[in-house]
């Protein structure tokens, strides 16, 4: 807020500022006349409307008038800037007085302790690998062993899982197969490590509510909603990334609200601290899952709004305005990006050994991993060599073919790019029929720039082929297929090698070396370039990358450039390391593109019904739950299901809030003052953040084609929970509502949430024995498959 006092505080020169500055502005920008302004200031009533100030400043002044009246209500009994908190009346009883003096620390402490108890109790009750522990436990193991792996999520969360394993004394040898029984490892500790993150959501919710200026009861209620939501509880108690993601999201939002409340005092130490903390937090959340970008977007929108407000503040010196920009760019862009990059640097530093994810990376990167044998490849590639061919584009894979055929187009054998190593990636370099050169004439013939080759697929003996048939997805380009064999082949099987670059200390002689030489493959007849552009094929192509023959002749596109990765030729001597080290930034970018590509490939298969997947429309009203493990009668069964009261209340509050805002706006248009300008501003700015947060975390899932699961809703849920408490708070703290009504409403709300939580206790802590016997009464919605697996999919 920029009241006149604040302006003075920022500019110790005081009133002389406005005159000098004003003159300058007038000359620069044809601003309004500063003399006018001064006269007005001097003569007018200090609270009277100043016609020369922008509208929003008018409102600010207006608010100041009303602050005292708001304070007079006395229900906002915690810290609030701009005026002193109303003095508390302490009780005579010394214990109560102690509580009253220290409630700001006692309440969150108590909530946190309860939170720890709910999250940690009986955490080892299932001694087998539950649900996605199979993934994330395994990824954690890779960090302990140092083997390079590939996954669609950024590394930070999984590194923390690895850390928890290391702290628990786990050596990384367990396979984490789904449903397998844990051997002698301290999985309880690993789970507690994860559950800790889930537990700290509770105090964060409390403090965030405080920053949103809710009453104390509302702050406690918000924390209790988080505390007693069965879904948050269940997901926190296993070795998963979600608890970390949620905690980090909550932390970002907390930092954001805290920073917003510092806006009246820009460039103070606290202002800088919370701005920087926000930046670090969004760096952390984005390094756990890319879903963190949604909360980052919230911070971004908030920043734009702030800068827009400041832009309209004509009294703000331009240098100060620029400073605002620079501060935000540094703290909200540079800082998060550094954190994100640092997590990848650590990732590369820890994973030094060759592992299952090698093929996602560039050949040079792989060659730098321990245990990789690329260095022993024969150096020069010759006719008759067996090779694998790697696309140099970011996220590029290995040229691949398999017996399956194209369902459309030519109907010939599919040729794709694939990110895993198998024998179907092997190609044999053969000479073409038109060149009468014997293949085994004593010494092998080394390939050179401009040579004509035919590439035979080792497993199926088909040749790499292209023709004037449209490619299946990128229909503007020609299809590439596997066709013919050694006896039937035609000119459409012939490719010309064009050497692009030779990253080698050897002389640039146009000879083809494995790993270091990059080259294009140009179709001799069509003149097009063999290209793979991170476009996923449909399900019939197993969502592998489409390979086309690109007629645009984009000779500089890395997606049209290839290199030899592995190379076998018995007639040639083994090579001796001749390698450039790959560069960190290249690897970083390469890995990120590969993650993006794999993420895009995760779209639902229309032919298969995935019982775990759900549709976003099912989430807000909790139409769906999720079985986290096998449903045998003997097993301890976990069912991922929210606390219905909590979820429904959160969703309902979104509607109530929207209607309330509409009501107030329409009434304001008719000049009815239902709320004071101060309250209105407060109501709108907090509500805007919460609804915006919900919206940004929910709507993208409705749009994206990716397969979605119930737990994708959890970050959005957090915002709707805070809004739930916020909306109740708004209605019970109206002047007309008596203290009695207020107490009753809160009591009902707390009781309902607590009892529903207890009622659904088993769902979170494990159902023992046959589900049908004990859980029938919990079957509140027809589509929940707690008991019966044959429920229809229902929407909403």
């Amino acid at each position: 807020m920029y009241t006149s006092e604040n302006i003075k505080r920022r500019n110790p020169v005081g009133s002389s500022f406005s005159r000098d500055q004003g003159h300058q502005q007038q000359q620069d920008d044809h601003h309004y006349n500063s003399q006018n302004e001064n006269q007005n200031r001097a003569s007018a009533d200090p609270y009277g409307p100043n016609p020369l100030k922008p509208a929003f400043q008018q409102q600010q002044q207006h608010q100041q008038q009303h602050q005292s009246s708001v304070a007079a209500y006395g229900y906002r009994d915690h810290y609030q800037f701009g005026y002193a908190p109303p003095r508390k009346e302490y009780s005579a009883n010394k214990y109560i007085r102690f509580y009253q003096e220290n409630d700001y620390i006692l309440i969150p402490t108590l909530l946190t302790l309860v939170s720890f108890w709910t999250r940690f109790r009986d955490i080892k009750s299932s001694d087998y690998v539950v649900w996605d522990e199979a993934h994330f436990g395994k990824f954690g193991s890779f960090y302990i062993k140092g083997d390079f792996y590939f996954d669609v999520h950024p590394p930070l969360g999984k590194m923390l899982v690895g850390l928890s394993g290391a702290l628990a004394g786990y050596d990384g040898t367990f396979g984490f197969d789904s449903g397998a029984k844990y051997p002698d490892i301290n999985y309880g500790f690993m789970r507690i490590f994860n559950a800790f993150f889930g537990a700290i959501m509770v105090p964060l919710a409390y403090w965030t509510s405080q920053e949103l200026r809710m009453s104390q009861a509302a702050c406690i209620f918000a924390a209790v909603l988080v505390l007693f939501d069965n879904a948050y509880l269940t997901i926190s108690r296993f070795i998963l990334l979600d608890s970390m993601l949620l905690a980090a999201t909550c932390f970002v939002f907390f930092c954001l609200t805290r920073f917003r409340n510092e806006r009246h005092d820009p460039f103070s130490l606290d202002w800088w601290l919370w701005l920087a903390m926000t930046g670090v937090a969004i760096g952390l959340v984005s390094s756990i899952k890319w879903v963190g970008l949604f909360v980052t977007a919230l911070v971004g929108l908030n920043t734009i709004e702030e800068l827009w407000d400041l832009f309209g503040d004509l009294s703000l010196p331009k240098t100060t305005y620029v400073k605002h920009w620079v501060a935000r760019a540094a703290c909200l862009i540079a800082l998060p990006f550094s954190v994100y990059v640092a997590s990848f640097a650590l990732h590369f530093a820890i994973l030094r050994n060759s592992g299952p994810g090698d093929a996602q990376m560039s050949s040079l990167f792989q060659a730098g991993l321990n245990g990789n044998d690329f260095r022993n490849n024969p150096l020069y590639v010759a006719y008759g060599s067996k090779v694998t061919i790697k696309n140099t584009g970011y996220g590029g894979g290995l040229l691949h073919s398999h017996v399956q055929t194209f369902p459309e187009g030519s109907g010939q054998q599919q040729v794709t790019c694939y990110h895993h190593k198998d024998n179907n990636n092997n190609w044999v370099i053969k000479n073409v029929k038109s060149e009468e050169v014997p293949e085994d004439a004593g010494s092998p013939r080394i390939l050179r720039n401009g040579n004509l080759i035919r590439l035979g697929h080792e497993q199926t003996n088909r040749s790499l082929h292209s023709h004037r048939i449209k490619a299946p997805v990128t229909s503007a380009q020609w299809e590439v297929s596997g066709y013919g064999d050694d006896t039937t082949n035609d000119a459409n099987d012939e490719w010309v090698i064009e050497v692009v670059d030779e990253n080698s200390h050897h002389p640039k002689d146009g000879q083809l070396r494995s790993l270091s030489t990059t080259f294009r493959l140009r179709h001799r007849v069509l003149g097009c370039l063999l290209t793979a552009e991170n476009v996923n094929l449909p399900q019939w192509g197993f969502r592998q990358i489409e390979v086309t023959c690109d007629t645009r002749n984009r000779t500089n596109s890395p997606h049209s450039i290839w290199n030899i990765e592995q190379h076998w030729n018995d007639n040639l001597p083994a090579g001796e390391g001749n390698l450039y080290k790959s560069k960190f930034w290249k690897d970083f970018w390469h890995l990120n593109v590969a993650m993006m590509t794999s993420n895009n490939a995760l779209i639902p298969d229309p032919d298969k019904e995935d019982v775990l997947a759900s549709n976003p429309s099912q989430w807000p009203l909790l139409a769906v739950g999720l079985r986290m493990c096998g449903w045998g009668d003997d097993a301890v069964k976990f069912y991922l299901l929210g606390n219905p009261i909590v979820w429904w209340g959160g969703t309902l509050s979104l509607g109530v809030f929207a209607l309330t805002v509409c009501y107030y706006i329409v009434r304001r248009q008719r000049k009815f003052q239902d709320v004071t300008p101060m309250e209105w501003d407060q109501f709108l700015s907090a509500g805007k953040l919460l609804v915006g947060g919900w919206f940004l975390h929910y709507i993208p899932f409705c749009i994206m084609g990716r397969v979605t699961y119930l737990h994708h809703y959890f970050p959005a849920l957090y915002f709707s929970l805070l809004l739930f408490s916020f909306v109740i708070d708004h209605f019970v703290n109206r002047p007309g509502v008596s203290r009695k009504v207020r107490n009753v409403v809160w009591a009902v709300a707390f009781t309902a949430v607590t009892f529903t939580f207890l009622f659904f206790w088993d769902v979170s802590y494990g159902i023992r024995g046959p589900a049908a016997e004990t859980m029938t009464s919990r079957q509140w919605r027809g589509a929940w498959n707690i008991i019966d697996d044959h429920k229809p999919n229902t929407f909403i």
């Binding site: 601003h31 020369l52 509208a55 008018q58 409102q59 019904e609 248009q669 044959h790």
Partner: protein, 766 residues
Amino acid sequence: MLEDTLRVQTIYIVATASESTLRQRSTFPKHTPPTDSNASATEDAPKKVIKSVFTSAEKTNSLIALAGLTALAIISRFYKINEPDEVVFDEVHFGKFASYYLRGSYFFDVHPPLAKMMLAAMGYFIGYDGHFLFDNIGDKYNDNNVPYIGLRALPAFLGAMTVPLVYMTMREAGFPILTCALAAFFVIFDNMLVTQTRLILLDSMLVFFMMCSIYSYVRFYKTRNNPFTLKWWSWMIATGVSIALTTSVKMVGLFTVATIGVAVIWDLWELLDIRRRLTMQQFMNHFYARAIGLILIPVVVYLFWFYVHFAILTNSGPGDDFMSTEFQETLKGNTMADGIFVKYGDNITIRHKDTSVYLHSHEHNYPLRYDDGRISSAGQQVTGYSHEDPNNLWQIYSDNVENTKIGKQVKDKDVIRLLHVATSSWLLAHDVASPTMTTNEEITTYSINEDGSRFNETTFQIILESGGDKLRTMASNFKLLHQSTKVAIWTHAHKLPDWGFEQQEINGNKNLVQKSNLWLSDNIEGKNASEIDQESSKAVKTRSFILKFLELQGKMISHNAGLTDSHPYQSSPIEWPFLVKGISFWTENETRKQIYLVGNPLGMWIAVASLAVIIGVSGADLLSRRRGFYPLNQDVQKRFYYATGFFFIGWIFHYIPFFLMGRALFLHHYMPALVFSYMVLAAVHGFIFIEGVDGPISDAGPETRPRQLQRAVVPVIAYASGIILMAIHLGSFLFFAPLSYGTSAPSVAGLARRKFLPQWDYHFAK
């Protein structure tokens, strides 16, 4: 509340205090400061209420311009309209639909009926009887005796009439003659608008009614100071009827509704403002009036055309299969009446609704082990077979073992068992994964000779989705729901490997709500309708209009969304304004002629640039106003946001929603937006070159304060630049005209020169 008044005062002070330093528009007459809120400033102003800003000479000039442009429009649309005398592009559909109207046979189309009925009416008046079905592109009209010129004349005429509407809309919005003429000129000489409106297609009607809506709304808005007068009501109802007609042509008309809807909501919001001094009762009157004129009347008009649609199409026709049984029974000569009630003990065939294969079984078993290593039950195969075969016969039994129900009719929700007649075995589903889908259950059979221990696995509930509550051949669609494991018998177009003779896989689907779970019984062995069927009457049934309408509307929407098959000429919306890709409408091999739908490239690119100017100017204005600096004269600014902005919103609303559509999209979907973009182009030209605005243009009302006359100054440079723009546009039009009219064939070199962008794939370019 208070703020706006304050801001206005501020502007006033700014304007007077630093008038000499306003560099941009310093030539404005002295009276530019707003007068409506500052009473002292209006004291000296003349109290005369102005009727019209335009002199009679100007009105004559405007009429001359309008007449000239209309003549040009008619020439451009009717030029060689007889060529080609062959079916072109989607004339295949819309010509055919017109024929069906004339025959009265029921057809199904995703678009509402109005435009097609207009074509049919045109055909009726010129004596066409609907004998030709427009089956293939390139079919000769003259050989088939089709009066196609008359049919094409209707869209061509309406396409031409769009031009005077554009002119008059701009004129009513207060733009000078030059600006209006520029917009109309660009609309006349756009190749896409020409090609698309001189053929038997719907878009010409769509754009015509759309412009009617916009024109009426502008007229309505101008009467806002005299609410509830006859003129006010007339234009409002005209707007309502026009938007209804637009929507009755294509559902895209909803975008027009949205455009006008936004304007109306904004208008209502202004009326609600306390400073307008309307009582709540008065405000509600405004609200109800608009609800009647712009919601109720349009809905009635829209429904009316469907009523006519059903009234004309009374005979069974190619659209029957799209509709429900109940609907089909309302059509003369429908096949539903042949249905026979199925009784227990009958041998029936069961056919899958979507893929038309019979439920089939034969004496071969599932392989014990599949290629992927999974194990099957090795039971008898149950497959989907597309030909008639004795192995398709199933005898229907009830679930009680004594078979007391033999001879009784099968009813909805009955639990039945199906006996495969040829192999004497019961149909059975069980919890074993199906051959190709691990999530679905395997369907097999189990011999009648074995013990009854698996009885529970052979019972299915028959759930009728349509066709009454008794199972009837042909008429009833039903699901077969397995009782013990709750799966529906289902099949999909997936062929089994060699061991299954490449027949279709049949399995148990856990998703019970899927539409593809439906089956129908098409035959009872040894019975036919004429022989035994007394129960079913041949009489045509009736059904309420609303039910028929709701069913058809639902089918239209779901079918429209289902048009996802890729098409070689489809394009994505982002490509349209830049004209990345065209559509080949028609080719003739002997003469190497081609009609290729592509807009006027230079004109469209200039239009895109003008859209960018709008965004740039409004952005700059927003930023500078935020800094307390008001670069635009208030009247210019008002015209810029209210008139040009309205057309820009029109463009947004007729363009952006396409990005959200999943169906296959084509360049011609951009046509409505294109007309708006040309209007924006002209307005932007005026904004740049013409000083000031003509005003006031709205009718004065009883409470209107005296306003001062303002005149726009149109300098020579405006005329010069306008003529240059028109020349560029016309040149570009003529250059591409051979491809738009298809009347002459450019040489290969000529085509190469016309290939501005790489994806314009002309057919005879080589």
